[in-house]
Amino acid sequence: MEFNAVYVLVAREFKKFVRERSRLVSAIARPLIWLFLVGAGMSRLVSPTGGVSYTQFIFPGILGMTILFSSIFSSISIIWDKEFGFFKEILAAPVSRLSIVIGKGLSGTVVSTIQAAIVLLLFPVLGLKLGLVQIIAVLIIAIAVSFCISTFGILLATFYENYESFSVIMNFIVMPMFFLSGAMYPVKLLPKPLALATKLNPLTYGVDAFKNVIFPAEEGPMSADFSLATDMTVILILSFAFVVIAARLFERKK
């Protein structure tokens, strides 16, 4: 693996992220809208028993959503690069395909984790109490989840050649992934088929890991659905699988 290549791919993404104000603004605005418009409205309808309010309940899900959108967006930019030719500059370089996948995966990880960290700052506003250990745990999980979703996005990007597919990916992959991640409702309350789909979704385990850390004492319907160990194992195994498969697919020459 070539670290120079990994480094420069991440540096490029970071540079663009900082430069594109609109991306940063929408990245911050989206979670706010969900928390305070959707969350606040819904909590009039839903008043769960136990210590967690609905707005608090969706906070892990909103962290997950932030990561989902920014990771996928970062990885899908490969399709833009293909369309505009820049990807050829990368593919023609004396660099292994594994480095490209890792570099792109870490690019998404960096920008997603930054955004998740910014959203995390909202916790006092929602009346949540988090200790330092919890905050660090959330950030570590955010890194793992971001990498997992980013590499999943790279895998998606290998199947598409032009950005007309962008809306397809958004509408048929990203939005369902968000709704079927346990972000808006506990997995244990879902009907069987939906619960199954949710269990096949990588994001579910990320959101659940956040729930485990943010509501450690909760036992009611709003509690986490799996153990933290399960969540992390699934995330790591999937990340590994996505990296290997994506590198393989890039390796294919025509």
Partner: protein, 325 residues
């Protein structure tokens, strides 16, 4: 040892044979011109040499390394300017070069000087901090050439480097290209459809429908024509053709509406032609043979219609438009 060696290279896409058993060699430090009409297989050949695609059969070597078996070594020793630009338009010129330097593993302590030198070489140093999307076509092309040199390749591939540029930028870029072999100790492999550029190449290969149909220095190739070329516009090409055959026993060829004939003494031939054909003649041109004539003679078509570059511009515009919306 030749720096590029290609043996019986074949590339098929399904039933279409894009490259059909070509062989050639390129000597180190020379400019090699690869000419051919649209779809002849030029880009496909470059893609095989650059290890981006695998050949169906045959072999290709760069600096003695097999393009199929040692792609990584080959990649390190080549620079590429693709037919369509491959710059990141949302980065500055400087950042694009920096990206390239890191990607190719240039030593950290050398990166800055190399990027600066490259920018100076193509005269873009003052514009280094502009986003590439603000660059003109000619500036982009020059930047790509500079980028291709950053990692000090042994061979630089240029796929239609001057396509779609105005004459001034073309001359400017062409100046840069021709001084590269000496200045940067690099071999140039280029495709072009501008004949005056082809004239400057040390060696030319003409490819048509995936096959090399002629190869040699520009002077050697011109010998194929066998003399000066006279082109005629007439009121009736069929009639004139017959008349020329009858009077002078010369076969005139009708290509794209003009009659072409060759003669050892072109200037003396013209008055006789006009006397013989009378007022059938609309115009007469006499030319020393050019590569274009060679091309016409061998393939029966002009190397490329100008509107092709127009088309690719339109494609760019449509893309840019779609991206903005």
């Amino acid at each position: 040892m030749p720096i590029i060696k290609v043996e019986n290279l074949v590339k098929r896409y399904g039933s279409l044979t894009a490259v059909d058993g070509i062989s050639f060699e390129v000597e180190e430090g020379t400019i090699f011109g690869f000419l051919g009409p649209n779809g002849a297989g030029k880009t496909t050949t470059i893609n095989v040499l650059c290890t981006l695609i695998s050949a169906t059969s045959g072999k290709a070597f760069i600096n003695g390394h097999d393009c199929e078996k040692e792609p990584s070594t080959v990649r390190k020793s080549i620079g590429i300017v693709f037919q369509d630009t491959t710059l990141d338009k949302d980065l500055t010129a400087y950042e694009n070069l920096l990206f390239h330097a890191y990607l190719y593993g240039v030593k950290k302590s050398e990166i800055k000087t190399r990027v600066h030198d490259a920018l100076n070489f193509v005269d873009l140093y003052d514009r280094r901090d502009d986003l590439v999307k603000k660059y003109s076509g000619g500036m982009k092309r020059r930047l790509e050439v500079a980028r291709g040199l950053i990692h000090r390749p042994r061979v630089l591939f240029l796929d239609e480097p001057t396509l779609g540029l105005d004459p001034q930028s073309r001359a400017n870029l062409w100046g840069v290209i021709t001084e590269m072999p000496k200045k940067h100790n690099v071999t140039i492999f280029m495709t072009t459809h501008y004949m005056e550029e082809a004239e400057v190449c040390d060696k030319i290969a003409i490819i048509d429908s995936g096959k090399i149909i002629a190869e040699g220095s520009p002077d050697e190739l011109k010998k194929i024509i066998g003399g000066d070329v006279i082109s005629l516009k007439t009121r009736d090409n069929k009639w004139s053709q017959k008349e020329i055959k009858k009077l002078f026993n010369i076969d005139a060829e009708d290509k794209e509406g003009e009659l072409y004939l060759t003669s050892n003494k072109g200037d003396a031939c013209i008055p006789e032609l006009i006397r013989g054909l009378g007022d059938m003649v609309l115009s007469v041109k006499l030319q020393r043979p050019t590569i274009n004539d060679v091309f016409l003679k061998l393939t029966g078509k002009a190397i490329r219609d100008e509107d092709v570059s127009g088309m690719s511009n339109i494609k760019e515009e449509v893309r840019a438009y779609r991206r903005r919306h």
